[in-house]
C-alpha cells in the first residue's frame, strides 16, 4: 500500500524537518498513482491532488514525524474530510408514510439493498412496506417478495406501472400503519431518457424523503457519469455503496461524493440481508489509499 511506498521514498529524509516543494511533488505523484489504481476518476484525482498540495506544503514544517508520514497523514485526513461527514440518518417524515426510493444502474444491488434497509429500519422499530415497482425484469417482484418474507416484511407490487403501484402502496401503508415505504425500482442506464424521466415523474408525484443512489463499489471511471446524471436529472439525497465485501479498492466512493456532494449513508458488505452497515468515511479513506 501507499504507506509502504512512502517508507522507502522518505527513508533518506528522516531527521529533516521541512519538506521541500520537490519532495511534496514526488509524494503527490505517488498519491495520484494510488488513487488512480483505486479507480478514483481521473478528473476527480486531478482536482483532489491540486487542493491537497497547498495544505501539504503549509503543514509539513509543523509536525514531529517524518515528512513522508506527514504527507500521507494529510492525504488521509483530507480524503476522510471529503468523504464525510458521517451521515447515516434516514429522513423520517412528520407526515407518514416516509417514502424512500432506491435507484441506480442494472445489477448494482437495489432490490437486495431495499430489503436490507427494510430489515435495518425494522430493527429500529419502524414498520416498513417494501414496494416492487420493477415490472420489467423477469421475477423482480418475486425476488423482493422472497426477501420480504425472510424478514417478515410485507411486499406490495400490484399495479400497471410504477406510479400506479406506488399509489396503491401508499394507500395500503396509510391504512395499515406502515410508516415507511421502501420503493425498489428497475435498474436503468443514466443515459436512458425515457427511464430517467419515469423516475423524475415518480419523484414529482410522491415527493420522497429519500432518493438513494445504489452504486456498485467496483465501478470504475464511469462512476462520475452515473452519479452526475442521477444527481443532475433526478436529484438524490444519498448513496448506498454495495459489494464492499470484495477486494475492489472502492475509489468510486470518492468519485461519487466529489461530484454530487451527497452523503454516502450505508454500505452493502455481503449477499445476506444483515450485511448492511452505516458508511464510515475514515475506513473507506484507508481502503482507497491501499
Amino acid at each position: 500500500g501507499i504507506s509502504v511506498k512512502f517508507g522507502t521514498i522518505f527513508k533518506k529524509l528522516r531527521g529533516r524537518g521541512k519538506l521541500s516543494e520537490k519532495n511534496i511533488e514526488e509524494s503527490l505523484k505517488e498519491i495520484r498513482l494510488a488513487l488512480l489504481e483505486a479507480d478514483v476518476n481521473y478528473k476527480v484525482v486531478k482536482k483532489f491532488i491540486h487542493e491537497v498540495k497547498e495544505r501539504a506544503i503549509g503543514e509539513a514544517v509543523l509536525r514531529n514525524i517524518t515528512p513522508g508520514q506527514q504527507v500521507v497523514k494529510v492525504i488521509h485526513e483530507e480524503l476522510t474530510r471529503v468523504m464525510g461527514p458521517e451521515n447515516n440518518k434516514i429522513n423520517i417524515s412528520s407526515r407518514p408514510p416516509t417514502i424512500i426510493v432506491l435507484v441506480g444502474l442494472q445489477g448494482s444491488g437495489k432490490t437486495t439493498t431495499c430489503a436490507k434497509l427494510g430489515g435495518y429500519l425494522k430493527e429500529k422499530g419502524y414498520h416498513p412496506l417494501l414496494v416492487a415497482t420493477d415490472i420489467q425484469r423477469p421475477a423482480a417482484r418475486k425476488q423482493l417478495e422472497i426477501l420480504g418474507k425472510e424478514l417478515g416484511l410485507p411486499v406490495f407490487g400490484d399495479g400497471r406501472d410504477p406510479l400506479d403501484i406506488c399509489r396503491g402502496a401508499k394507500d395500503l401503508a396509510i391504512s395499515e400503519g406502515r410508516e415507511v415505504l421502501l420503493v425498489d425500482t428497475a435498474g436503468r442506464l443514466h443515459i436512458d431518457e425515457k427511464l430517467m424521466k419515469e423516475l423524475k415523474q415518480l419523484k414529482k408525484v410522491f415527493q420522497p424523503e429519500e432518493v438513494l443512489l445504489v452504486a456498485d463499489a467496483m465501478t470504475g471511471q464511469d462512476a462520475v457519469n452515473i452519479a452526475q446524471a442521477f444527481e443532475g436529472t433526478l436529484g438524490i439525497s444519498g448513496v448506498v455503496l454495495t459489494k464492499l465485501d470484495g477486494d475492489a479498492r472502492g475509489g468510486a466512493a470518492l468519485s461519487i461524493k466529489a461530484v454530487t456532494n451527497k452523503p454516502i449513508k450505508f454500505i452493502g458488505v455481503g449477499e445476506k440481508l444483515d450485511a448492511f452497515q452505516p458508511f464510515c468515511p475514515d475506513r473507506i479513506a484507508s481502503r482507497i489509499l491501499g
Partner: protein
C-alpha cells in the same frame, strides 16, 4: 524540436486521460504511453493511429466463436461476480442457439439468490428451452449433474448452466464452482466445453482481479462483456486478454434477447476514443 516535444507531451497527456477514463487501468496505460515515447514519432498526428494499432495488438488475434463439441450435449458454464449479467447473457446465448433450431436445456444452478430460479424459468419459456431446477438451498452441482443426465437422455444439443453470482475472493464459493466442473466432468469428459466469465463493463481495475482468480480456479475459456450500451468503455479487457490470454467472445448491449454482439478488436479500440 523542443517545440515539437512540448506538443507531443500535450498529446500524450490528452491520450493518458482518454485511456485512464476508458478504464484501461494504470498499468496498461503506462505501458502503451511508454511505447509511444520509444517510437519517437515525428508528427503529432501520427500518435493516435499508432496508439490504436498498439491497443489492437494487445488484444488477442484468435477465433472467438463458442466452443461446441462434436459429441452432444456441448456444455456451457456461466460464472462471474454478483449482478454482472450472467443469467441474462445465458438467456441471450441460448436464444441464439434456439434460432439455429438447436435443442437447448438450461440448468438452474443458482440455488441461493432469491428469485433466481423463477428468473431463469421465465427466460426459458420465452426462448423455448426446458429448464432443470431443484429447490432453493439444494446443491448446485447436483442440479448441474441432473441437467447433464437429462440432456444426454433427451438428445439436447447445448446445455447452459446458470450459477449464482459470487465474489472471486470468497474461496468456499469459488470451490463450489470447481465442484460443479468436477461433477459434470465425471459424467462427460470434455464438459464443460466452454466456461464463460461474465464481466460488467462498468467495473474498473477490479475486473483483472476477477479474471485472474476465476481463471486460476476454473480455466475460463471466454468472456462476455456486458452493459456496453452504457457509457463505460470496458477498457480492462485489454489487460485481461494480454496478460491472461482469455478472449472476449461476446458483448452485451442491452437487456433484451437480441442484445448480444460478436467482439471485434478494431471496433472495440475505435469505441474507446468515441
Amino acid at each position: 524540436l523542443k517545440f515539437r516535444g512540448k506538443i507531443n507531451s500535450e498529446v500524450l497527456e490528452e491520450l493518458e486521460a482518454i485511456l485512464i477514463q476508458a478504464d484501461l487501468g494504470m498499468k496498461t496505460t503506462a505501458k502503451v504511453l511508454e511505447k509511444i515515447r520509444e517510437e519517437r514519432l515525428k508528427e503529432p498526428a501520427d500518435i493516435k493511429p499508432f496508439l490504436k494499432r498498439e491497443l489492437v495488438s494487445l488484444l488477442l488475434d484468435c477465433p472467438r466463436s463458442i466452443n461446441l463439441s462434436a459429441s452432444s450435449p456441448s456444455v456451457i458454464l456461466v460464472v462471474g461476480v454478483n449482478g454482472v449479467g450472467k443469467t441474462t447473457s445465458l438467456a441471450k446465448l441460448a436464444s441464439r442457439f434456439r434460432e439455429e433450431n438447436k435443442k437447448v436445456l438450461l440448468a438452474a444452478s443458482d440455488t441461493f439468490r432469491a428469485g433466481s430460479i423463477e428468473q431463469l424459468d421465465i427466460w426459458g419459456k420465452r426462448i423455448g428451452a426446458e429448464i432443470i431446477k431443484h429447490q432453493y438451498g439444494s446443491d448446485p452441482a447436483a442440479v448441474a449433474y441432473d441437467a447433464l443426465s437429462a440432456a444426454q437422455a433427451r438428445g439436447i444439443d447445448i446445455l447452459l448452466i446458470d450459477t449464482a453470482g459470487r465474489l472471486h475472493t470468497k474461496k468456499n464459493l469459488v470451490e463450489e464452482l470447481r465442484k460443479i466442473k468436477r461433477v459434470i466432468g465425471k459424467k462427460k469428459k470434455e464438459a464443460p466445453e466452454e466456461t464463460l466469465l461474465v464481466l460488467d463493463a462498468t467495473v474498473g481495475q477490479n475486473a483483472l482481479s476477477q479474471a485472474k482468480l476465476f481463471k486460476e480456479a476454473l480455466k475460463v475459456t471466454g468472456i462476455i462483456l456486458t452493459k456496453l450500451d452504457g457509457t463505460a468503455k470496458g477498457g480492462m479487457v485489454i489487460a485481461i486478454e494480454n496478460e491472461l490470454n482469455i478472449p472476449v467472445k461476446l458483448i452485451g448491449t442491452g437487456e433484451t434477447l437480441g442484445d448480444l454482439v460478436e467482439f471485434d478488436r478494431g471496433e472495440f479500440v475505435e469505441a474507446l476514443f468515441s
